[in-house]
Symmetry: C2
Subunit: 327 residues, 2 copies
Amino acid sequence: MKIAIVGATGAVGQQMLQCLEERNVPGELKLLASARSVGKKFTYKGQEIAVEELCEESFEDVDYALGATGNDITKKWMPWAKKNHVVVVDNSSAYRLDKDVPLVIPEINPEDIQKHHGLIANPNCATIIALVALNALRKEFGIKRMIVSTYQAVSGAGVKGIHDLEVQSKDPSVPSTAFPYQIAYNLIPQIGDFDDLGISKEEWKMQNEGRKIWHDDNLLVSCTCVRVPIFRSHSESIFIECEKEVDVEKARALINEAAGCVLKDDPKNGVYPMPLDTTNQDLVFVGRFRKDISDPTGHSLSLFCCGDQIRKGAATNAVQILQELIK
Amino acid sequence: MKIAIVGATGAVGQQMLQCLEERNVPGELKLLASARSVGKKFTYKGQEIAVEELCEESFEDVDYALGATGNDITKKWMPWAKKNHVVVVDNSSAYRLDKDVPLVIPEINPEDIQKHHGLIANPNCATIIALVALNALRKEFGIKRMIVSTYQAVSGAGVKGIHDLEVQSKDPSVPSTAFPYQIAYNLIPQIGDFDDLGISKEEWKMQNEGRKIWHDDNLLVSCTCVRVPIFRSHSESIFIECEKEVDVEKARALINEAAGCVLKDDPKNGVYPMPLDTTNQDLVFVGRFRKDISDPTGHSLSLFCCGDQIRKGAATNAVQILQELIK
């Protein structure tokens, strides 16, 4: 069995390689990237693997591919993979909303994986982290509406984003390469392009992808996405309005048992989710549970959650899907 | 006429000195602080002024005082000021909700100033910035409910907070002096102590102080307060539910004319509020206006705003109140 990582030298591709090794996924590995990365070598399970150039013939001996390239590049190589009957788990947003492409978070809708036609899409990073944090609450209380403000790490813009924060933290006058403005000691309330309503692409994803993953076309989501000077974990301040009356103690108990979650909710003792604590691990930390005091009906709940954007928000989720496929 | 700054060596006290000079407020200045700051000298309108020790006799020749000390110290010196019939504008939260103490944002409720009995309170910084951004919208649409997620600068914790971010940005292993955890490259979803509901003191302020300033006991506010690695401007992601149907173009036009506000809302051309741009100036930048798509009735609006926490969030607002008093 041969697994390819397409876009192997980027932040997500590198994390995919690490996750495959950590989870001891069987099979040989092929690393694909653009011509300028050819010859770079990475160690995988004790062996050195050289990066090969991504081209039409790359997929001839490949069974599964993990996609970690941007939308434009992905649209170029996807037909090559298809022609060779490669089953792809793709992290780009290019095919996420296509009808015949399952969009999967393994803790939530693993059954959708088997409906694939050669391609399974990995959801948006902020969407994965929010939905993992909310899934058990949704089952119990029924979520009608979500109001989300994000605090998104620079790693969401890849290696260049990480580089910008590193360099500008020492010298803020160095121009950004991944962002429209300085990101060190600043916030940028823009992630992706804006439409005529003034809503950014990233802000639409939580509603559009959330509806598909939860199979609920009535889900209402309003989102403000903000880039913050954090290296790799996304945080989200979330207010949910539910069908049933909410119960804070019950919410805590549910998260304590929920797949993919860690309850961090003892604020008087300084226990709450923080992005530094979720960095470089696979679980979503959830806490700051309160009844939303602005909803006198008692149907609303406030919470805060954090998760590693490169791991659970991207690479880990894709590798989990691959593991389900192989199983 | 003599004006005293009590707590003159702190971040807010220093900014008060600068604001008094910039606004050319008449009168002599007296700088009061704790014993360990005695002898420090600061330049004011071209003259050097030495810091004097805060004591019971400090207020004998004082007409007006600007308070920039924490709650405990403020409670100690307030009786001394009262005894000497000094009119105080106090930035601490010690007396903000007292019935006979006006709580004032000059752009919103200047008429309350004249109801004072020797003491006027300056509101919480995040509350000032949000309410300045929302006041014109409230007059037009009627605000029933606010859902707020904050992105609050380290300067809210004073000189020590600024020091922590400066030092930790270079070496994250240096322990925090102002925060419970590392703040560089991290977020801390705690500002102030928590009550039994899991709500922090800072999170209560927006509702409690908002009700008092707007004279609206039915105002509903839910707030999640988060400290971010930014030096001195607070940002806020705000969702409002209104009595009337909202209109985005009308909202923009209102902010364009609103006292204390600058409209920054052309996101397709990269125009939106950012904390770096509001640093060291007195206005609140408001933008990212969208109809809240999670409210199908069309009564809700989303926006993002930023303001300098030490200036408009504290010192400038206090000096504006003083100017109204003198006038």
